[in-house]
Symmetry: C2
Subunit: 455 residues, 2 copies
């Protein structure tokens, strides 16, 4: 259906804002993107980013926007996890079937390219222009140097809040009655570090792996960049026995790394310098509802549903918002009220599901990876999934390599968990975990358990 | 322990703010109370209030402040619920033992008196002065006519945010990293209505009862005032088959009341006028943490833990915050950092518990009061509690007539619920609910269930 061209404002020039700008320009709308920060193409990165893991949902949105190939050039496929367990040789876990991979991309590199592409599509960007207020019923924006100073006023037909976890647009919606909202921080923070390339420009670790040094309550990860370097992230509790709070001096930092990550420590560039220069960032889950105001204002991406990064789905979920939103625009033409209302109704349960899955992954990594019972369960699940790949699709695959709803992945995962709770009651499981009895018990339970039981 | 007198600001002149002012004046501090609204003693009530039910925790705080007797004069004891079930005679449920009562007080009447008492104690009030910003580390307040206009700056030693569910002080804390926060609205709103006195000044309904007209998803309540009137509240879903949304005209309102509340409708004053003049208000649960910033800023009452009103504990919980806070001040003298840190650690689990209990009462009233199974369970519990009052203290009594922690009431209530789940499995219960077998089964389960199982 054809749509009447509209004046659209997007607040936030991050990944979601710039992708939405491309879609809306293709639909013929006039698009202005505001960002309170300077043009990311003109400044250094912040030293607080975790590399992105683009997977199926992200690629699908990029494909529809016609920029998939452009972005592939920036990405490195990771076919497996490389697990660096203490005092053990590295072992590898494939993510999925042969060609299935997640793709490592530097947030800064991708964001710069996306802004180039959005500009090329005709979107205009207003950087370093701070939006302080939004008049929701009239879709007017107010910008200025300071919150208390003079403000400029802009009138639009529609405003999209793509301004991230601490969204100013949502902040305005939040002050209204009957707006449900929560922000929950976890007690673990993170810090960015770097492994530089070898002298010849090659990668110091296998470049097609997602490297993980799991240590229970904390962990270190490394993801490759095109230039041969790795962007690394230390996840560590803020307080407690082993924590950021306990690392106060350069010696503390060096001792901590040598003790817990001896094999990778020599490779980290300027460890003690970066440790104290780069910020320790917090991780938050944000839920809210509604996401829209009439046909005037809509939240997209982190502003509507910030999640912890332990499923690698933050950007993918935001991009999928755009797939759904622009699909509805094509379906319902100029009826933006209907588009916005269906958009939030369809996306909210899926945003809640990926938030839950991401948080569970955090809990699992923090507390269960050292539990022999849990490791045995995972071993049984893998064994069964290999034997019956159609009967047992792991939640990870549903989330990462399909575009079925997140809520479905959560429900099916709950169902599998219920089945495994039964299976784990079987006696002498350590010695017969790969026996036909165990396999048959799972098959039996799969037949018994109605699919809806997962909910 | 003696304390050095401090300059203290209290934001909010509501019940909690004015009671805290009295306590801090008694401890010798200089107290300034700010309120963005005009002096409630000089204006009409808002028509959006639910009468207060002062119970044990509230009285305890007032006693310690030395104003219990003053406040008793404003209150009417309610010894029982008067249940007005459709097409049945009114029946009464006593709240507790002989002398146990909750006390009905008009919010406006109490608030005016409390401000008088706080002024008499030497607190100074700055009404119609809007606090726009708080500098947390320095306890400075900024006030002014408008958010964007000129601001006045005040420096204090400590700031208390007693500014209610939509607290400006908390709002400032909320923008910091690692501040957990949630606001959850229920789908039911409320509206204030009035039953006037008889011509001779007497009450139209029994004045020592809390009157309830339960109708499943909605209900009407009435609480007496000293002047012979009743302050009434209609709780009703915002949307749906029977809802505020469906009542658009005076005829709709009249028809609704005649259909569902025929016995009380003739007594309601100016029903259709008030229905459209008084606002429909929303109900929210607010949780957050931390409640304090160093030794500088603390949230007290609804600003820290707004709850839905279905347990009658909102004000009581806020007053109990003050009992605990001022108790810690006496204990730790001038060590305000320790006072604030122990205050929030002690109160947070109890605030969460009363929030949960209040929300459960809403769910129970909305969905379970029509369930025969539930009514049978309640009958069994009452029967057992009468026979063994020391072994079965209902959660309502723990909350309302004791000063044991709310968290304990919740845990013990959960334990009772677990026991009753077992009991309700007994066959033929309808015909032998008051038999010795049932009583013995409960005694047996009480012996089996460790107390901690309630958690």
């Amino acid at each position: 259906m054809s749509q009447k061209p509209k004046q659209v404002a997007i607040v936030g020039s991050g990944l979601v804002g710039s992708l939405l700008a491309i879609f809306l320009r293709k639909a013929g709308h006039a698009v202005t993107v505001f960002d309170r920060r300077p043009d990311i193409r003109t400044v250094e990165f912040s030293g607080r980013s975790i590399n992105l893991a683009m997977s199926n949902r992200g690629w699908k949105a990029l494909r529809q926007a016609g920029i998939e190939e452009e972005v592939r050039k920036l990405a490195i496929p990771l076919y497996q996890r490389a697990m660096h367990v203490s005092d053990e040789p590295v072992y590898y876990q494939k993510y999925g079937k042969e060609e299935e991979a997640i793709w490592s991309i530097s947030r800064g590199v991708l964001n710069r390219r996306m802004i180039d592409l959005a500009e090329a599509a005709g979107a205009s960007f207003r950087f370093s222009e701070k939006v302080w207020d939004v008049d929701l019923p009239t879709a007017r924006l107010f910008t200025g140097e300071t919150e208390k100073g003079e403000w400029e006023e802009y009138a639009f037909d529609h405003v999209f809040g793509c301004d991230g976890a601490f969204s100013r647009v949502r902040h305005k919606m939040q002050r209204r009655s009957r707006f449900d909202y929560s922000q929950d921080f976890i007690d673990v923070g993170y810090k960015e570090l770097t492994i530089p390339p070898n002298a010849d420009g090659s990668h110091k670790l296998d470049k097609h792996s997602f490297h993980i040094w799991p240590r229970g309550r904390f962990m270190f990860i490394a993801m490759p960049n095109l230039d041969g370097s790795f962007t690394c992230t230390l996840f560590l509790p803020f307080e407690g026995e082993v924590s950021f709070e306990k690392i106060q001096t350069r010696d503390d930092a060096r001792d901590f790394f040598r003790k817990y990550f001896p094999t990778v420590t020599p490779d980290i560039e300027n460890l003690t310098g970066d440790f104290f220069r780069n910020p320790t960032s917090a991780l938050v889950t944000i839920r809210c509802y509604p996401w829209t105001y009439w046909d005037k204002v809509a939240l997209v991406g982190d502003s509507a549903h910030a999640i912890v990064p332990f499923y690698g789905q933050g950007m993918n979920a935001g991009f999928e918002d755009i797939t759904v939103l622009t699909g509805l625009m094509q379906q319902h033409g100029g009826d933006w009220e209907r588009v916005f209302s269906e958009y939030q109704a369809r996306r909210k349960p899926n945003a809640d599901a990926i938030a839950e899955l991401s948080y569970r992954n955090f809990v699992e990594m923090s507390s269960r990876t050292a539990d022999p019972e849990f490791l045995l369960q995972k071993k049984i699940e893998r064994h069964f999934a290999n034997a019956y790949p159609d009967k047992w699709i792991p939640a990870y695959s549903r989330v990462t390599f399909s575009d079925r709803p997140y809520a479905e992945a959560l429900a099916m995962g709950d169902r599998q968990e219920a089945i495994m709770r039964e299976v784990m009651q079987m006696p002498d499981l350590e010695n017969r975990w790969d026996s036909p009895e165990v396999t048959n018990r799972i098959l039996e339970l799969l037949d018994q358990q109605p699919v809806a039981a997962g909910k």
